[in-house]
Amino acid sequence: MAGTASAGAICVAGCSCRSSSRWEFLSDAQAETLAALADQIIPEDDFPSASQAGVIVYIDRQLMGPYRRHRDAYQAGFESADRISREFCGVALAQAPPPIRQEVTSALAEQRSDFFELAREHIMEGYYGSPRHGGNRDAVSWRMLGLEEPPLRGRAKYDLSKGAGS
């Protein structure tokens, strides 16, 4: 299930293909590759997967901004992920069945490739970071961690008559 969880978030095979990508930087194909990887890093369980929570939007947006400098690394990384996937099962990562996706991710992780480390970090940022940047839709990860959202601000929780210390 995790493997196709990206369906809601991005244009999947089967929907009418548009000529221009709906992403700011990524091509549709790259977005699918990234979603396949991201949903291995943070799969769906009781809570959404990475791509369901908007992580692809996050990374795509940052590649137009502060992560411009990582564009080449992503391009090369997508290619190497697809290459490994083809070696395993003959098709690119986004088309591979979920068990293969997991194997490809493991292979990338074992290599400790720069791309894997970079993508892992960015996927985590998108999922666990502020929703204002496009990921962590509806602050879903914060809720998952037990953080009230919006945060309860103010003094309701505290007994201000008590002072610290002795």
Binding site: Q40, I41, I42, P43, D45, F47, Q62, G65, P66, Q102, T105, A109, R120, E121, M124, E125, Y128, G129, S130, R132, H133, S141, W142, M144, L145, G146, L147, E148, P151, L152, R153, G154, R155, K157, Y158, D159, L160, K162, G163, A164, G165, S166
Partner: protein, 550 residues
């Protein structure tokens, strides 16, 4: 404004105080700040872009483009870094600087911190020295900072602090859950825990309200303006005198010299990118340790071909900060109560007095755990990705405590700021090149401190602990940067005298963390503030009513 009595470069912790002291005394002051003035309305609690977690950039400057630095690692490899890169050693660039977004721990150094050489000797290869002034010289000014800027806390349970004339103006905030877990454990270990003194309103003070204890504090501005810094105290006071003009988005490029070897003002780039001059009788450099050194080095003239105050190649040396070590404890129950500012409890039992160690450091609980911090802080053996990782995030996010602290750093003359021979900023001035590391004994102290933190967590019931004491490959100066314009009596091994005045030029003062001879086992801001009050007094005593000539 035409000629001013004083130009101050940098509206940070120290610069703001100097501006207030001089303008109150009637001097005309121009205060230059390279960054803008943010207000509480600019407070965005953005966990990916603040002043401590900068994955998407610095919230309060400098911006990533146009202001690189060069850092040289232990292997001698130089690389260009941008301001949001950790290796850049950033503080901030805005009115108030760090004091806008800091954690606001407000420590006095201990008397021994000013006499490190006398107490411990100088470890071979280090440049550990005594300060030319002592705790007793600064005590009145610590007090002034505590009351004027505003500090909450209670030193009573701590037997280790230096003599104080009175308590703090505000009581500590009520305890949080980490306090309740850590306090009895510390007592069982025979330690003396107490509430961290904080530059934060716990009750209404200085016409502003108290802390409302929101989720994220350190690294963020405060939306209720309860954090006390120069931007909401001394700088508005300076402006209210009518004698001080604040020039934001204006960057000083060079201190100008006249033919007789006196400074006569600064050249600066204004908010529109134009190169201008501001003439003055006095120049005060308060640009923070790295940029203050750079400004002096970039001020070359006929009499000072190697930079101002740099006759003996001392400017930029002894760069220091703090090497942080500690431990992370995992608990079988919730430790997190989502109540800011988070850090609450400290012990100073370990700052001095351990045989074989040149000092130690304060230990305290950490401020915050952003969700993003947790991804690589899960118990050893946790999968780095996939279901297991996600599950562990849920399990542990609310069940950890970090205890850590700033290790007394043993300085070396080789850890230093110079000018990079090739790389320039967007206005064409050579950028700071940072190289060297602290003395290896620092790491020995840090390791013992980490073990002490671990013991405290274990006593508090941690079911598992990990030490946090990896050794950085370069100096960790960053937010706590200090030491580059050492205070001393001998021009051959220091840059300024005990009044923070350049040995070489009597109307140029360096007043900020640069003058620290050693940096204590504490966060430095309160000491920087005390020095600013102290040095302003010395400066004013030498002010003869018009031009400055001592």
């Amino acid at each position: 404004m035409n000629r001013a009595n004083a130009v101050i470069v940098g509206a940070g912790a120290a610069g703001g105080i100097v501006a207030k002291e001089l303008s109150t005394a009637g001097l005309s002051v121009v205060l230059f700040e390279r960054g803008p003035w943010y207000t509480p309305a600019d407070c965005r609690k953005d966990d990916l872009r603040n002043q401590r977690t900068t994955v998407l950039g610095n919230a309060f400057g400098p911006e990533d483009r146009g202001f690189p630095r060069v850092v040289v690692d232990a292997g001698g490899v130089a690389r260009i870094v941008r301001p949001s890169d950790n290796a850049y050693q950033n503080n901030a660039a805005c009115v108030g600087v760090g004091t806008l977004s800091y954690g606001a721990q407000a420590w006095r150094y201990m008397p021994q911190d000013f006499r490190m050489k006398s107490v411990y000797g100088t470890p071979p290869g280090s440049s550990l020295e005594d300060w030319p002034i002592g705790y007793e010289d600064l005590e009145p000014f610590y007090d002034q900072a505590e009351y004027e800027i505003g500090i909450s806390g209670d030193y009573a349970p701590d037997p280790f602090h230096g003599p104080r004339r009175r308590g703090l103006p505000m009581p500590p905030l009520p305890p949080n859950r980490e306090w309740e877990i850590l306090e009895p454990a510390a007592r069982r270990l025979g330690l003396h825990p107490f509430a961290i003194p904080m530059l934060r309103n716990s009750v209404p003070y200085n016409d502003r309200g108290p802390c409302m204890r929101c989720r994220w504090c350190v690294g963020f501005a405060c939306e209720v303006d309860a954090k006390n810094g120069s931007q909401n105290t001394v700088i508005p006071q300076a402006l209210a005198t009518g004698n001080c003009r604040l020039r934001t988005r204006c960057t000083a490029m060079e201190i100008l010299m006249d033919e007789s070897g006196h400074a006569c003002g600064v050249e600066y780039i204004d908010e529109n990118g134009r190169r201008e001059r501001q003439l003055s009788d006095i120049v005060v450099v308060s640009a923070c340790a790295i940029e203050s050194a750079r400004l002096l080095l970039n001020s070359k003239s006929r009499l000072f071909p190697n930079g101002l105050g740099n006759r003996y190649d001392q400017v930029g040396r002894h760069l220091q900060g703090h090497y942080y070590t500690g431990a992370l404890g995992y608990f079988d129950r919730d430790t997190y109560d989502d109540i800011g500012p988070g850090a609450s409890i400290a012990v100073c039992d370990y700052n001095h007095g351990t045989p074989g160690l040149c000092g130690g450091g304060m230990l305290a609980n950490e401020f915050i755990r952003l969700p993003i911090h947790m991804i690589d802080r899960l118990p050893p053996g946790t999968p780095r990705w996939g279901h297991g990782h996600k599950q562990a995030m849920r399990e542990w996010h609310r069940r950890t405590i970090i205890v850590m602290g700033p290790t007394q750093q043993i300085p070396t003359a080789e850890a230093r700021v110079t000018l990079d021979p090739a790389v320039k900023d967007k206005w064409g001035a050579p950028v700071a090149r940072i190289q060297g590391n602290c003395h290896p004994h620092t790491f020995e102290i840090g390791t013992v401190q980490a073990q002490r933190a671990q013991t405290w967590l274990q006593e508090a019931g941690a079911i598992h602990t990990t030490l946090m004491n990896s050794r950085p490959q370069m100096i960790s100066a960053g937010q706590h940067q200090a030491g580059t314009c050492r205070m001393g009596t001998d021009p051959r091994n220091s840059v300024v005298n005990q009044s923070c005045q350049l040995h070489d030029v009597d109307n140029v003062f360096v007043i900020d963390g640069s003058v620290h001879v050693s940096n204590g086992g504490f966060n430095p801001a309160l000491t920087i503030m005390a020095i600013a009050y102290y040095a302003s007094g010395a400066l004013l005593r030498g002010w003869k009513g018009a031009r400055y000539r001592s």
